[in-house]
């Protein structure tokens, strides 16, 4: 049978066998596989030795003494890359209170006073309102017990709407946070914190009141809440003058106004 006949069924010009025509045309395949007797080349031996040395030193350098408790190579000193502290950024006392207060404000105050603090209709605005910037005491009274009746804010009068008491809704810390937030966000008071302790004492004094305040019943404009002011608030006055617990109304006003004065001197 000729090659021609054999390839008659293939529709291409070249058969695979023509391509792989190397070895043994007659049988197509070489007979039996054998292995030669060439010796191991010297250059390959040298390459192998080099690889052995590299690999061996790799184990030595990285194994950390083959101890189960050790997951670093020996001599490794854990260090923090430049610019990465590994900690969350430090927040100042004010920032912490403001951050917490924002959440409280969104949950409780947003509905009436708006996210911008602009108020709406008969609800007075908070932005630069004298009722939040000045005395913290009367501010705390309003938040704790709510307020009703006519009130003048920034020259405009309001009063058709009542503000409900928040003392049952919010705890001392939340009130402190939201007061600090409102004072800082809407009143631009950036150097004063209403602390949890201050609200605690305010609740003791005013929290028993059964109904809302009217604007005339509130504490005077410059009455500040007593309490632990953060140290950084009064760096110029190193003597914290820890006044004894039994204190009169006047003493409170006094200490409050002193702090207030110092704050004002700092801001100006």
């Amino acid at each position: 049978m000729s090659e021609q006949q054999e390839n008659r069924d293939y529709d291409h010009k070249q058969s695979v066998r023509d391509c792989a025509s190397i070895a043994n045309h007659q049988t197509e395949e070489n007979l039996k596989l054998q292995e030669g007797n060439e010796s191991f080349p010297v250059w390959l031996l040298i390459v192998c030795v080099v690889i052995l040395i590299v690999g061996g030193s790799y184990v030595g350098a990285n194994s950390g003494g083959f101890e189960f408790s050790n997951n670093n190579k020996s001599g490794y000193e854990p260090s923090v890359p430049a610019g990465l502290s590994g900690l969350a950024p430090e927040l100042s006392e004010l920032e912490k209170y403001v951050k917490g207060g924002e959440a409280v404000y969104r949950a409780v105050c947003n509905g009436c006073h708006q996210a911008t603090g602009a108020g709406q209709g008969q609800i007075p605005p908070l932005v630069e309102s004298e009722w939040i910037i000045n005395g913290t005491e009367r501010f705390s009274q309003i938040v704790l017990n709510g307020i009703r009746g006519p009130i003048t804010v920034k020259g405009a009068s309001y009063g058709a709407q009542e503000m409900p008491a928040q003392k049952g809704v919010l705890n001392d810390k939340q009130i402190a946070q939201v007061m600090t937030y409102v004072r800082s966000k809407f009143g631009n008071v950036s150097d004063s914190v209403v602390t949890k302790e201050m609200v605690e004492s305010a609740r003791q004094k005013f929290g028993a009141r059964p109904n809302q305040y009217t604007s005339r019943e509130l504490s005077p404009e410059d009455a500040m809440l007593p309490g632990d002011q953060p140290e950084w608030l009064a760096p110029e006055e190193p003597e914290p003058s820890p006044e004894p617990a039994p204190e009169g109304e006047s003493a409170q006003i006094n200490s409050g106004s002193r702090t207030h004065a110092s704050l004002n001197s700092k801001t100006t």
């Binding site: 049978m1 054999e6 390839n7 069924d9 293939y10 529709d11 291409h12 070249q14 058969s15 695979v16 066998r17 391509c19 792989a20 025509s21 190397i22 070895a23 043994n24 007659q26 049988t27 197509e28 395949e29 070489n30 007979l31 039996k32 596989l33 054998q34 292995e35 030669g36 007797n37 060439e38 010796s39 191991f40 080349p41 390959l44 390459v47 192998c48 690889i51 052995l52 590299v54 690999g55 061996g56 790799y58 184990v59 350098a61 990285n62 194994s63 950390g64 003494g65 083959f66 101890e67 189960f68 408790s69 050790n70 997951n71 670093n72 190579k73 890359p81 610019g83 990465l84």
Partner: protein, 479 residues
């Protein structure tokens, strides 16, 4: 002439062996090719999904999202195609090298059916969301005993065949085949036991999985691929393997170091430092047998450029060997932390897996299939152009994938390393390279389309008519 007579007997013997091996081997090869089709399509889909999740996004195609198509693709590629095609080629090599006809083909067919059943359940399980999400072991937990049982039938058959061998000399390919057929059950059972049945800590499971992947590559895929190469190269060139001594050292070097590899993937991780260190060193040491093997094979080829150019089988095999050495050198370099930190957890890791499974293993197996199937069916390959375009497209695709995955991985890892930048930067840093890799996947799909068409037509032709060929020993040629 006595010499002619010997040759004639040899041809007849070979023909008888090929005939007896025909049914089981073609069964494994065709079902493996079907799984390869599934794998390359899923591979293209998962690569597209990586950068454009909107691709093929319909409520009815929920199973194609990246989290499912990626493990389904890898599992279909490794278990459906690679190991199954490996088994098919190994059966034929074993029969040829033992010079004994295939007996009890029913054992092989039963094992093959169960293997395919296992892979089918596994891939469908992954696509319907029951995968384990463990790399290379992503099949649902119930599947591995099926695969294990099926493979042990094959192991039993291979050992029986080895006992029936007619040839006293044991050729180097048989060493690799027997090695792989013992190593695979050991690796596979150990990994599944310690990941699925007796899970330790999460860290221990991760280490076991990394070891499994390393060992699967160096102790299963590499030996089977090398068995083919050691068979085909001397067979086609027509001269003995360069050196028996080199073959010996190459085999035992691989056997000694292969089982230590894999865990270098977790260097710098929360493992005892010696575990990745030992694995990293093993990957470096394994260059010794790899260089020995490659030198041995290239020296066998040397001076036969025309043979390489003309024989598709040889060309595929040599391309596989080239990707093999690229893979091994790259793995060794990556086990140094200075380089490894760029390759550990980026696009590179997937690229490395594709490099070894497609670039090395599949190319070698393609070579063996191109050599083997005409002899089994008694028909020539119907279309030589398709073989060439299969080869060239595969090479282009692998080259592109290599570049995309390696450079993309380095770029991406650099972005991961910038702790003060958002993570999104790292994701978008890899995106252009992922798009480039999709193009390469389109090449792979095209390349294998050629392969499938060729395979289908050679199988159908052979079913239609017997063709007298030199592959089937025919007496008249003794002129």
């Amino acid at each position: 002439m006595p010499q002619d007579k010997v040759a004639q007997e040899d041809i007849q013997r070979r023909t008888a062996i090929d005939r007896s091996a025909r049914f089981p081997v073609l069964f494994f090869i065709t079902s493996a090719a079907a799984w390869l089709a599934v794998a390359v399509i899923l591979g293209f889909v998962q690569q597209m999904k990586l950068h454009s999740p909107a691709f093929l996004d319909a409520p009815s195609l929920f199973f194609l999202n990246y989290g499912r198509s990626n493990p389904a693709f890898m599992s279909a590629l490794v278990y459906g195609w690679a190991i199954q095609a490996g088994i098919g080629v190994v059966i034929w090599l074993m029969a040829r090298l033992c010079r004994a006809e295939v007996k009890n083909p029913i054992t092989l067919i039963v094992a093959g059916h169960f293997w395919n059943l296992g892979v089918l359940i596994g891939v469908l399980g992954i696509l319907t969301g029951h995968g384990t999400s463990i790399e290379w072991l992503a099949f649902p937990k119930a599947v591995w005993p099926i695969l294990c049982g099926a493979f042990s039938l094959i192991v039993i058959w291979l050992i029986t065949m080895f006992h029936r061998r007619q040839d006293k000399e044991v050729y180097i390919s048989v060493w690799y085949i027997l090695g792989a057929c013992f190593w695979f059950p050991w690796i596979f059972i150990t990994a599944n036991l310690f990941i699925h049945i007796f899970p330790g800590s999460a860290v221990a499971k991760a280490a076991t999985n990394a070891w499994f992947m390393g060992s699967m590559i160096y102790l299963v895929l590499v030996p089977i691929g090398l068995a083919c190469a050691y068979y085909l190269i001397p067979k086609i060139i027509g001269r003995p393997v360069h050196s028996a001594q080199l073959g010996y050292y190459g085999f035992w070097g691989l056997a000694v170091f292969g089982g230590w590899t894999g865990i270098q993937k977790f260097m710098g991780g929360p493992l005892p430092a010696w575990m990745p260190a030992v694995s990293g060193a093993a990957v470096i040491f394994i260059l010794i047998p790899v260089f020995i093997i490659v030198v041995n094979q290239l020296k066998t080829v040397r001076g036969n450029q025309s043979a390489v150019n003309s024989s598709p089988a040889l060309r595929f095999t040599l391309a596989g060997i080239s990707f093999f050495i690229i893979y091994c050198v790259f793995s060794a370099l990556s086990s140094f932390l200075a380089i490894g930190k760029f390759t550990q957890i980026s696009l590179t890791s997937m690229g490395t897996q594709i490099l070894v499974v497609y670039g090395f293993f599949s190319m070698t197996i393609f070579g063996a299939i191109y050599f083997m199937v005409p002899r089994l069916t008694g028909t020539e390959w119907p279309n030589l152009k398709r073989i060439n375009s299969h080869f060239i497209l595969s090479i282009y695709a692998m080259g592109t994938l290599l570049i995309m995955h390696y450079f993309g991985g380095v770029w991406q890892s650099g972005a991961y390393g910038k702790f003060d930048a958002p993570l999104e930067n790292a994701v978008s840093a890899g995106k252009p390279y992922a798009i480039g890799a999709s193009v390469a996947w389109a090449f792979i799909v095209l390349a294998n389309l050629n392969f499938f068409l060729n395979l289908i037509s050679i199988l159908l032709r052979s079913g239609r008519r017997e063709i007298v060929s030199k592959f089937v020993g025919h007496q008249e040629s003794s002129g």
